[in-house]
C-alpha cells in the first residue's frame, strides 16, 4: 500500500500548525506518504502539490475562523489541473458557536468529501482514510514495519 499519498496543510492566512504537524506524524506512522505544506498555504499550492505527488487525498486544516472564504475555488483549482483527490477539511470551521451540522453541510456543498470537527482525533482521521481507500490495519502495519 506504500503509494497512498496524502497532502496536508493549513489554508489561507491560517498559521495554526500544531494540528497538521501531529497529523503528518500520525499518517506517516499509519503508513501513508505525506507531503506537509505547512502554514498559510494558498489553494493553488494545494492543487499543485496534489498533482506533483499524485495525491489520493488532500487534507486541509483551518483553525482561525476563515475556512469558508479561504476554500472558495479550491476544488476548481484541482479541476483546472485535472486532479481529483479525496478532500477532507478539519479544525475549527466557524467563527463563534454555530452548529457543526450546518457547517458540515456548507463544506460538503463546496466539494469536500469529509468534514471533521475539532473533536476528531488522529485515529479518526487515519480510520477514515483507511476506509476510503480500503486499506486494512494489518496492511498498513506491515508497510510501517517495512519503512
Amino acid at each position: 500500500m506504500s503509494g497512498t499519498s496524502v497532502v496536508v496543510g493549513t489554508i489561507g492566512s491560517d498559521a495554526h500548525v500544531v494540528g497538521i504537524t501531529l497529523l503528518e506524524h500520525a499518517l506517516k506512522e499509519a503508513g501513508f506518504e505525506v507531503r506537509n505544506l505547512g502554514a498559510q498555504t494558498p489553494k493553488e499550492a494545494f492543487a499543485e502539490a496534489a498533482v506533483e505527488t499524485d495525491a489520493s487525498a488532500v487534507l486541509v486544516s483551518s483553525l482561525y475562523g476563515h475556512a469558508e472564504q479561504d476554500c472558495e475555488g479550491l476544488h476548481e483549482a484541482f479541476a483546472e489541473r485535472g486532479a481529483d483527490p479525496t478532500t477532507y477539511i478539519g479544525g475549527n470551521l466557524a467563527v463563534g458557536q454555530s452548529e457543526f451540522e450546518e457547517v458540515r453541510r456548507r463544506f460538503r456543498e463546496m466539494g469536500f468529501d469529509g468534514v471533521f470537527s475539532a473533536d476528531a482525533d488522529f485515529e479518526d482521521v487515519v480510520e477514515a482514510l483507511r476506509a476510503e481507500f480500503g486499506i486494512d490495519e494489518s496492511a498498513s502495519q506491515l508497510a510501517r514495519a517495512r519503512s
Binding site: 493549513t10 492566512s13 498559521a15 495554526h16 500548525v17 500544531v18 504537524t21 501531529l22 506524524h25 500520525a26 506512522e29 505547512g38 502554514a39 498559510q40 482561525y64 475562523g65 476563515h66 475549527n92 466557524a94 467563527v95 463563534g96 458557536q97 475539532a118 473533536d119 482525533d121 488522529f122
Partner: protein, 476 residues
C-alpha cells in the same frame, strides 16, 4: 544586515511618512495632536502607570469584534461583568496580514448582518478617530493585542488613536504567526514600531510594550520564551521604550511555572537597561483547550492559582469557550470571574513551593546561555545576533509555522509534567543541562515502558483534552 541601532528622528519621520501612505483613507496624523490626546486621558487610563503601580495581579482578557459600537459594548461587559483591570482590543486576521481591503469588506458585512464577520477589531479601518472614540468610551487602560508581523501602520494608527500598550515583537509576532517573513524583515518593521513608542515616551507618554511570550502556545520550554522576550525587550529599549512587560504562557506544572516567572522577574531587570521598568505577564494555558466548559474552567482556575502563588503583574485570561471559537462577551466575563475568585481567595496566602529554586536555576542557566549565543552570533549586536542565532538553530521554537526558525527543538513532558526537550537541534544550551533533560525524559520513558519519541509529544499535546497534563499511552 539589520543592526540594533536607534533610528534617528529624521529616519523615524521618513518612515512614518511612508507608513501612513498605506492607510486606507487617512492622512498622517499630527504627532503633537496624538500626544495631546494621550495627555487628556485620566490617570486610571494610563496603561504603564496602572500596570506598574498595581499591587496584586491585574486581570486582562482577549477580545475583539468588528464594529466599533460592538467593541465598546464588549469591553464594557468585560469591566462590568468580568471586573477586568486592563482591557484588550484584539485585531482581526486580515489586518494582521495587512489586507485592509478584506478587513473593510468584513467590517461592512458586519454592519449589514449585525454580527461580527471578523475575528477581531480592524483598527486601521476604524482609523484614529474610531480608536479615540473607543478609548474615550471605556473606563480602563486599553492594549492592542494582535499577532501582526508587519504592524507599522497598525501601531501608527492605534498609538495616535490613544492606545497605550502594544503587544508583540519582531520574533514573537513572526515565528508563531506567519510563514511569510524573514526575521530581518520583521526586526526592521518593529524598529519603527518601537521607535514610535520611544518617541511618545520621550514626550511623557510611556507606551507599554509586551513581547508575546507564549509563542506557539504548545509545550514551549520556559527558557526559550524568556530568552526571546528579553531579546525583544533589548531591541525595544534601544529605540527608547521604557515600559516592557515580559510574557510567559502557563505550561501547567506549577513548580515550573512559578520558577519561570521568578526567573523572568530576576533576569529581565538584569539584562534590560536600568531606565526600563520591567513587569511580567502570565498567560493562562495557551495550547489546545478541552472542549468541555467544565473542564476548561478547571484549566482556567489552575492557571489562576499558579498566578496567585507567583504574583506576576498581570494575567491574561481565557474563557471556557476557548476550544470552540471566539467566545461570547458573557463567556469571556465568566473566565474573568473564575480567575478573580481564585486570585482573591489565594491573595492573602503566602505559598512557597519546594523545588522552585532548583527549577529556576535550571531555567536561568539556559536563558543565559541562549542570550550569550545571541550576543556572540551578532558580535555584540542583538538584532544581527537574533537573525544569525535562529539561522543556525542556536535559538529555536517548537512548532513554528515559519521557516525562519529551524523547528528542530522538540519538547515533551517529564514524569512530573514539566516541559523538557527531547531533541535540542542546535539549541545553545550546555551539555549538563541537556543531560538533565535527557535523564528526566528517560525516567518518563521507563515509567511508560516506551522509548522517548514523537508519539510522546503528540500524546502530550492531546492530553489536556482528556483531562490530563502528561499524555500516557493508553489514555484514550
Amino acid at each position: 544586515m539589520v543592526e540594533d541601532r536607534r533610528l534617528t528622528d529624521a529616519e523615524l519621520d521618513r518612515l512614518d511618512e511612508r507608513v501612513w501612505t498605506d492607510a486606507p483613507d487617512e492622512a498622517r496624523v499630527d504627532f503633537e495632536d496624538a500626544v495631546a490626546f494621550h495627555e487628556s486621558l485620566p490617570a486610571h487610563k494610563q496603561f504603564a502607570d496602572v500596570l506598574e503601580g498595581a499591587d496584586g495581579v491585574l486581570t486582562q482578557p482577549r477580545a475583539g469584534v468588528a464594529r466599533l459600537e460592538e467593541q465598546i459594548e464588549l469591553l464594557r461587559t468585560l469591566t462590568e461583568e468580568g471586573g477586568a483591570d486592563l482591557l484588550p482590543t484584539t485585531i482581526d486576521s486580515y489586518t494582521r496580514d495587512n489586507e485592509y481591503e478584506k478587513a473593510q469588506a468584513g467590517l461592512e458585512q458586519s454592519r449589514e448582518t449585525g454580527e461580527s464577520e471578523l475575528n477581531g477589531f480592524p483598527a486601521v479601518n476604524h482609523g484614529v478617530e474610531g480608536c479615540r472614540s473607543l478609548i474615550e468610551a471605556v473606563d480602563a487602560p486599553v492594549q492592542v493585542r494582535h499577532g501582526t508581523p508587519d504592524a507599522r501602520l497598525l501601531a501608527a494608527v492605534t498609538l495616535a488613536g490613544g492606545f497605550q500598550s502594544f503587544e508583540g515583537g519582531p520574533i514573537t509576532y513572526n515565528l508563531p504567526y506567519t510563514s511569510k517573513y524573514e526575521l530581518a524583515e520583521t526586526i526592521e518593521y518593529w524598529q519603527y514600531v518601537d521607535r514610535l513608542c520611544g518617541a511618545y515616551t520621550e514626550r511623557g507618554v510611556r507606551i507599554n510594550r509586551e513581547p508575546f511570550g507564549p509563542l506557539t502556545g504548545t509545550l514551549v520550554p520556559p527558557s526559550i520564551a524568556i530568552a526571546i522576550c528579553i531579546v525583544e525587550g533589548l531591541l525595544a529599549a534601544t529605540q527608547g521604550v521604557r515600559s516592557v512587560t515580559l510574557g510567559y504562557g502557563q505550561v501547567g506544572n506549577i513548580v515550573q511555572d512559578v520558577a519561570a516567572i521568578r526567573a523572568m522577574e530576576r533576569l529581565g531587570p538584569e539584562y534590560l537597561p536600568d531606565a526600563v521598568t520591567v513587569t511580567t505577564v502570565f498567560h493562562q494555558w495557551m495550547g489546545g483547550f478541552p472542549r468541555d466548559e467544565a473542564r476548561a474552567s478547571g484549566v482556567i482556575a489552575l492557571g489562576s492559582a499558579t498566578a496567585a502563588i507567583v504574583e506576576p503583574d498581570k494575567i491574561i485570561t481565557k474563557s471556557p469557550q476557548e476550544a470552540r471559537g471566539v467566545p461570547t462577551a458573557e463567556a469571556n466575563a465568566t473566565g474573568l470571574r473564575t480567575t478573580d475568585q481564585v486570585l482573591q481567595m489565594l491573595a492573602e496566602q503566602s505559598i512557597d513551593l519546594e523545588g522552585v529554586d532548583r527549577e529556576q536555576e535550571l531555567i536561568e542557566r539556559s536563558v543565559r546561555s541562549l542570550l550569550e549565543a545571541v550576543f556572540e552570533a551578532g558580535d555584540g549586536d542583538v538584532a544581527c545576533g537574533v537573525v544569525r542565532a535562529f539561522e543556525r538553530g542556536l535559538l529555536d521554537v517548537p512548532f513554528p509555522p515559519s521557516e525562519a526558525a529551524a523547528g528542530d527543538a522538540l519538547p515533551a513532558r517529564d514524569d512530573d509534567g514539566r516541559v523538557r526537550l527531547l531533541k535540542f537541534g542546535d539549541l545553545a544550551v550546555d551539555e549538563e543541562t541537556k543531560e538533565i533533560h535527557r535523564a528526566r525524559l528517560e525516567d518518563r520513558a521507563a515509567t511508560e515502558d516506551r522509548s522517548p519519541s514523537f508519539r510522546m509529544v503528540a500524546d502530550d499535546v492531546s492530553a489536556i483534552s482528556d483531562g490530563r497534563l502528561v499524555g500516557r499511552p493508553g489514555d484514550d
